[in-house]
C-alpha cells in the first residue's frame, strides 16, 4: 500500500533564489528546494543531507548541468547529485531522496509522508 502523503506548503516564491537552492524544514526533515528559471520544470526538491558527510548542506551547493542532466554539487566534497533522480554521478550506488514539488499560487508545496496527527489536521 502506498503510504499516505500530503502536500506541505514550505515557502513562497519570494524565498527562492534563482539558479540556486534554499533549505526548508519538513516533517521528514531538512529538504533542499532549487529554482532553475532557465529550465522546464524549474523546481526541484531533494534531501538537504549530503550522504557523504552527513551534514545538511546540499541547498548550498552550486547548480548546473552535466551532459544535460540538472545537478547540484555538494559544497563539502563536490560530488554531483542529479536533481531529477537524486543519483550521485560519481557513485551510482548512492542516491539522495527526491520530493515531488509544485507551485500553488504563491506557495511552494512538497509531497511528504503524512503522519497521523498532521493528516487529520490537514
Amino acid at each position: 500500500m502506498k503510504p499516505r502523503t500530503r502536500w506541505e506548503a514550505v515557502c513562497t516564491v519570494d524565498d527562492l533564489v534563482p539558479e540556486s537552492g534554499i533549505a526548508v524544514w519538513t516533517e521528514e526533515g531538512p529538504v533542499a528546494v532549487f529554482y532553475l528559471p532557465h529550465r522546464l520544470p524549474a523546481l526541484f526538491a531533494i534531501s538537504h543531507t549530503d550522504p557523504f558527510s552527513g551534514a545538511n548542506v546540499l541547498a548550498r551547493g552550486i547548480t548546473g548541468d552535466l551532459k544535460g542532466e540538472p545537478v547540484v554539487a555538494s559544497p563539502l566534497y563536490k560530488q554531483h547529485f542529479s536533481l531529477r533522480t537524486g543519483i550521485c554521478l560519481e557513485d551510482d550506488t548512492v542516491r539522495v531522496k527526491t520530493y515531488p514539488v509544485l507551485l500553488d499560487g504563491n506557495q511552494i508545496r512538497l509531497e511528504v509522508r503524512a503522519n497521523q496527527q498532521t493528516s487529520i489536521a490537514a
Binding site: 514550505v10 515557502c11 524565498d15 533564489v17 534563482p18 539558479e19 540556486s20 534554499i22 533549505a23 526548508v24 524544514w25 526533515g29 531538512p30 532553475l36 532557465h38 529550465r39 543531507t49 558527510s53 552527513g54 551534514a55 545538511n56 548542506v57 548550498r60 551547493g61 552550486i62 547548480t63 548546473g64 548541468d65 552535466l66 551532459k67 544535460g68 540538472p70 545537478v71 554539487a73 559544497p75 563539502l76 563536490k78 554531483h80
Partner: protein, 835 residues
C-alpha cells in the same frame, strides 16, 4: 610435494620490500617463509627515522602491519638475533632454537661505525640508526646542555638537527677539512658550513678525536689531536656505516676486502642457496647505502627465485638531493671529477648563498656529475643530462647560471630521450608514456591509469603533464584547454571575452559564448573573472548562484555544515580592545577559537543564521572581512620590524598593513599570500609566499611566486632595493598580470613556470614594460583599490541579502539536528562520525 623453506634474516626496509615482492609472486606458494629480526619492532621506514623526534611513532613509520604478515602466512620472529649459519646442513641458530632452510636471504643491513677512540664505550656515547638508538639519545638528553655529533656526513648533519630539536646546543666534529666530504667539494662544503652555522649548529672541521674522558663542566670531555678539547654531555657517532656481514663471514661466504657480502647480478652469494640484498651486499666492489638500490636488489632476487633471470641488478645511480637543516644540497654522479680528463665549471654566488659545479667530459659534450648547495632548482635538469648522456648545449655554463645572466631554462619535454625516467616511484620512462599514447591513451588521466606514473609521491605530476601534452600535440591531438563542457575556452580567453565585450553576467556570457547551464567548475571561474573586471559585490543577485558556498556565505564551511569566521587583522597587528571583542563574541556564540598560520584568529562553529549577527558585532568593533573564504589576498604576514626589533632596518609592520589594505578583496585565480620581513633574518618567512618582501638598508627586495602548502616552492628574487612606491608599483603590475593571464586555480608559482620565458619574461614585462601594458595594469589596479567595499558590511546592512542566511527559510527557530557537539580542552568541537 611438501613446501620448501625460505628464511629471511633481517626485517629492515629492504627485507620487508623483498617479502612484499615475493609474496605477490607465484613462487610464494612453494615456500614456508620464516623471518628473523633483531630489532623488537616490525620493519619501519629508516629513511624518515628523524621524524621520530618530531612526534612520529613506530606505527607512523612502520612499513607493514602484523596482520599482513599473518595473512601471508609468514612466521615472524622479532627480537630474535640469528647467531650462526651452518651452510652444510642448511640450518641456522638463534638463542631460541635451530631452523632448517632451503633458500636463505641475508638482509642484515649495516651498523654504525664507531671509531676506535679510547673511552668510546662510556655512558652517553651513542649511535643513530634504530628506534632504540633514538630512545637512548632522548633519555641521555634529559638534563643535558650540549651534544656532539662525530662525523659531518649526511647522517651526521641529520643527527645534529635532531640534537637541536631536543633543545641541545649542537656541535659537529668532522675529521676531514669540510662537511659532507663524500658528496661535496671544498667550496660547496664551505658554503654548507656557513649556512649550517647560521642555523646555530657549531662546526669543527679537521678535528681528530684522541680520547674521551670525564668532563669537568659537562659529562664528557673530548680531546683532539691538536691539543684542543670540547666538553659535552653526550656524543653521537656518525662516522659512516659498515655492512653487517658478521654471520656471512663466520659461515665462510665470500666477503669483500673492506667488508660486504659478495653477490652476483642476481643477488646470489658464493653459495647458490644463500642470497644477500640491501646494505649488507657488495656488488662489483660497491656497497649501496641508499634504499632505492636495495629495493631494486629485492625485486631482482624475487624474480630470480621465480626462475626469471632476465631481470639483473646492474648497479644504481647514487645521486642525491635533499634538504639538510633546511639547506638544499644536491650531488650527482661523478661529483669529484675523478673521470680522467674531466673538467669543471663552477658558479659561486656568496651573496645569495648558491654554489653550483658541473663536471663535464673532456670533449665537453656530456655531463658527468654535479654539486649543488643552497638551491636545488637545477637538480632535475642536470640529472636528466647526466643519466641520459644528453649532449650538452654549446655553452654548458648556461645550465647553472641564474637565468638573469643568460642561464638556460629547464629542459623541455622534447629534449628528453625515450629512456629518461619520468616517474621514479613507478619506474616509468618517457618511452613507456609514448607507448601508452600509441596504444590509445588520449589524455593525462588514461596515461596515469595505464602506466601508474604520478600515482606515488606525486612529485612528477608537472613533468608528466608536460610530456603527455607535448607527445599528444606531436601526434596532432589537440590538447584541450577548455574550462569545462560549457565553455570551449581557457580562463584567460574567457577573461578577454568578458573584458572586450563588457559582459557583466554569467547568463549573458554562457548564452553568447557557451552552451548549457554551467556547472561548479565554470560558474566560480566566471564569477572570479567578473569580480576582477567589474568588482561588484559578490552577493549582487546575478552573482550569488555562481559562487562556491564559502564565497556565497563569506565564511569557510566546515565538515559539519557550520562555518568559520576570520576577520582581517592587517599585518597581524591588533589592539587589546579589538582582541577583547573577538574573545567576547567567541564566548557569546561558543565558537572554537584558534590562531591561524596567517597571524589572525579563526572562530569556528557558527551556524548560517548566526553569521550576520556575529558580523554586525565585529563590524561595530571596527573589523572587516578577512576573505579567508575567497580566491583572493589572504594575509600579509609580518615580523615586528625596526619599531621594536634590534635587527630591523625597515618598518615591516607598516609596509605589511599598507600592502594588505591595498590588495584586500582583490579576486584572483587562486589565493594569494604575502609577507614582509624587517631584515634579512626573514622572520616572516616571506620567501614562501606569492609575494615576499624583505627589508634592506636601502629599501625592499621583492621575491615572487613562492608558496607553502603541499608542494612548497621558494620565491624568486625579482627586484632589489626598491623604494616604497616602486615596490607597490611593481607588485601592482605582477598581481594584475597574474590575474589577467593565469588559468583557473593556478597559483602564481605554476603560472610563472608556465609562462613562456618564465621569470625572465615576467621581469621584462613588469620591470622593462616590454609589452607596453605597465600603465594599463597599474590603472586597472587603482580602479579596484578605489571600489573596495567590505562585503560583510554591505551584506549585514541589506535586508534582502540577509535573507540568504536563513538556515531553514520556513523555520527560524529550528536548529540543525546533525550538529552535535562535545567539549575538548575547554572548547566546543563537533562530534566526529559516530561509529
Amino acid at each position: 610435494m611438501s613446501k620448501k623453506t625460505l628464511i629471511v634474516i633481517g626485517n629492515g626496509m629492504v627485507g620487508h620490500h623483498f617479502l612484499e615482492q615475493f609474496c605477490a609472486s607465484p613462487a610464494a606458494a612453494d615456500f614456508e617463509i620464516i623471518v628473523f629480526g633483531e630489532e623488537k619492532q616490525l620493519a619501519y621506514d629508516r629513511v624518515h627515522l628523524s621524524e621520530y623526534f618530531g612526534g612520529s611513532t613506530h606505527a607512523d613509520l612502520a612499513m607493514g602491519t602484523l596482520e599482513w604478515y599473518t595473512e601471508q602466512g609468514i612466521q615472524l620472529h622479532l627480537n630474535e638475533q640469528v647467531t650462526g649459519i651452518n651452510r652444510e646442513n642448511r640450518t641456522l641458530e638463534t638463542p631460541r632454537g635451530s631452523y632448517r632452510y632451503d633458500e636463505l636471504v641475508l638482509a642484515t643491513g649495516s651498523y654504525p661505525f664507531v671509531p676506535p677512540i679510547e673511552g668510546n664505550d662510556r655512558p652517553h656515547c651513542l649511535v643513530y640508526r634504530t628506534l632504540d638508538d633514538l630512545d637512548a639519545i632522548r633519555a641521555s638528553s634529559e638534563g643535558a646542555r650540549a651534544g656532539v655529533v662525530v662525523g659531518g656526513g649526511l647522517l651526521g648533519l641529520e643527527a645534529a638537527n635532531a640534537l637541536k630539536s631536543l633543545g641541545l646546543e649542537a656541535h659537529v666534529v668532522e675529521f676531514a677539512p669540510r662537511l659532507m666530504p663524500v658528496q661535496l667539494d671544498a667550496d660547496g662544503g664551505a658554503l654548507l658550513r656557513h649556512k649550517i652555522e647560521e642555523l646555530g649548529v657549531q662546526v669543527h672541521t679537521e678535528k681528530a678525536t684522541t680520547a674521551i674522558t670525564e668532563g669537568e663542566d659537562a659529562r664528557l670531555r673530548m680531546d683532539f689531536s691538536d691539543e684542543s678539547f670540547l666538553e659535552t654531555d653526550l656524543i653521537v657517532f656518525s662516522a659512516g656505516i659498515r655492512p653487517q656481514d658478521a654471520l656471512a663471514r663466520a659461515s665462510g661466504l665470500e666477503i669483500g676486502e673492506r667488508g660486504g657480502i659478495v653477490i652476483n647480478n642476481h643477488c646470489t652469494t658464493s653459495d647458490p642457496h644463500v642470497h644477500a640484498i640491501g646494505e649488507c651486499a657488495l656488488w662489483e666492489q660497491k656497497i649501496f647505502g641508499l634504499v632505492a638500490p636495495g629495493y631494486t636488489m629485492a625485486r631482482t632476487l624475487s624474480a630470480a627465485l621465480n626462475g626469471d633471470r632476465e631481470l639483473a641488478f646492474t648497479g644504481a645511480d647514487m645521486s642525491t638531493k635533499l634538504k639538510l637543516l633546511g639547506v638544499d644540497v644536491g650531488s650527482i654522479g661523478d661529483a669529484h671529477a675523478q673521470t680522467p680528463g674531466a673538467r669543471n665549471i663552477r658558479f659561486n654566488d656568496e651573496q645569495a648563498g648558491h654554489y653550483r659545479r658541473m663536471v663535464i667530459s673532456e670533449d665537453g659534450k656530456t655531463l658527468l656529475g654535479a654539486i649543488l648547495v643552497g638551491d636545488n632548482s637545477h637538480y632535475d635538469t642536470l640529472l636528466q643530462y647526466a643519466l641520459n648522456g644528453i649532449t650538452l648545449p654549446e655553452n654548458p655554463e648556461t645550465l647553472i647560471l641564474p637565468e638573469s645572466q643568460g642561464g638556460a631554462p629547464a629542459l623541455g619535454p622534447d629534449a628528453l630521450p625515450e629512456t629518461a625516467s619520468i616517474c621514479s616511484c613507478h619506474n616509468v620512462t618517457k618511452g613507456d608514456i609514448c607507448g601508452a599514447i600509441d596504444a590509445g591513451c588520449s589524455d593525462l588521466g588514461s596515461v596515469k591509469a595505464e602506466t601508474k606514473a604520478s600515482t606515488g609521491c606525486g612529485g612528477c605530476t608537472a613533468l608528466l603533464k608536460n610530456v603527455v601534452d607535448s607527445e599528444l600535440e606531436k601526434r596532432g591531438v589537440e590538447v584541450s584547454k577548455d574550462l569545462c563542457e560549457h565553455f570551449p575556452y581557457s580562463r584567460q580567453e574567457l577573461f578577454h571575452i568578458v573584458k572586450v565585450n563588457g559582459i557583466r553576467t554569467f547568463h549573458t556570457l554562457i548564452s553568447q559564448h557557451g552552451k548549457g547551464h554551467g556547472c561548479d567548475i565554470c560558474k566560480p571561474a566566471v564569477a572570479s573573472i567578473l569580480a576582477t573586471c567589474w568588482n561588484e559585490h559578490i552577493l549582487a543577485t546575478d552573482h550569488v548562484p555562481l559562487q562556491d558556498t564559502n564565497d556565497t556565505f563569506m565564511a569557510n564551511m566546515q565538515k559539519n555544515g557550520t562555518y568559520s569566521i576570520v576577520p582581517r587583522i592587517p599585518g597581524g597587528e591588533i589592539t587589546p580592545d579589538k582582541l577583547i571583542v573577538l574573545g567576547e563574541v567567541a564566548k557569546e556564540y561558543d565558537l572554537y577559537t584558534k590562531i591561524t598560520g596567517g597571524q589572525r584568529v579563526d572562530l569556528f562553529g557558527a551556524t548560517l543564521s548566526q553569521l550576520p549577527e556575529i558580523w554586525e558585532k565585529l563590524i561595530a568593533a571596527g573589523f572587516e572581512t578577512g576573505h579567508a573564504y575567497g580566491k583572493s589576498l589572504r594575509t600579509v604576514k609580518s615580523c615586528v620590524g625596526n619599531t621594536w626589533c634590534r635587527y630591523g632596518v625597515q618598518d615591516s609592520v607598516g609596509m605589511a598593513i599598507r600592502l594588505e589594505d591595498r590588495y584586500k578583496g582583490l579576486r584572483a585565480p587562486h589565493k594569494v599570500k604575502m609577507a614582509v620581513s624587517g631584515c634579512t633574518r626573514e622572520c616572516a618567512e616571506a620567501q614562501s609566499k606569492d609575494f615576499g618582501v624583505i627589508a634592506t638598508e636601502n629599501g625592499w627586495n621583492l621575491y615572487v611566486c613562492g608558496n607553502g602548502g603541499m608542494r612548497p616552492r621558494h620565491a624568486d628574487l625579482f627586484a632589489t632595493d626598491l623604494s616604497d612606491e616602486e615596490l607597490i608599483r611593481t607588485i601592482d603590475r605582477v598581481v594584475m598580470f597574474y590575474v589577467r593571464t593565469a588559468d583557473r586555480l593556478q597559483r602564481t608559482s605554476v603560472w610563472m613556470e608556465n609562462l613562456e620565458g618564465g621569470l625572465e619574461y615576467l621581469k621584462q614585462v613588469v620591470l622593462e614594460d616590454s609589452l607596453g601594458i605597465g600603465a594599463e595594469l597599474e590603472e586597472h589596479m587603482e580602479g579596484i583599490v578605489g571600489t573596495y567595499q567590505c562585503e560583510w558590511k554591505t551584506a549585514v546592512e541589506d535586508p534582502e541579502k540577509r535573507k540568504r542566511f536563513r538556515e531553514f527559510v520556513n523555520a527560524p527557530s529550528q536548529t540543525d539536528p546533525v550538529q552535535e557537539w562535545t567539549v575538548e580542552r575547554g572548547q566546543r568541537r563537533p562530534v566526529l562520525e559516530s561509529a
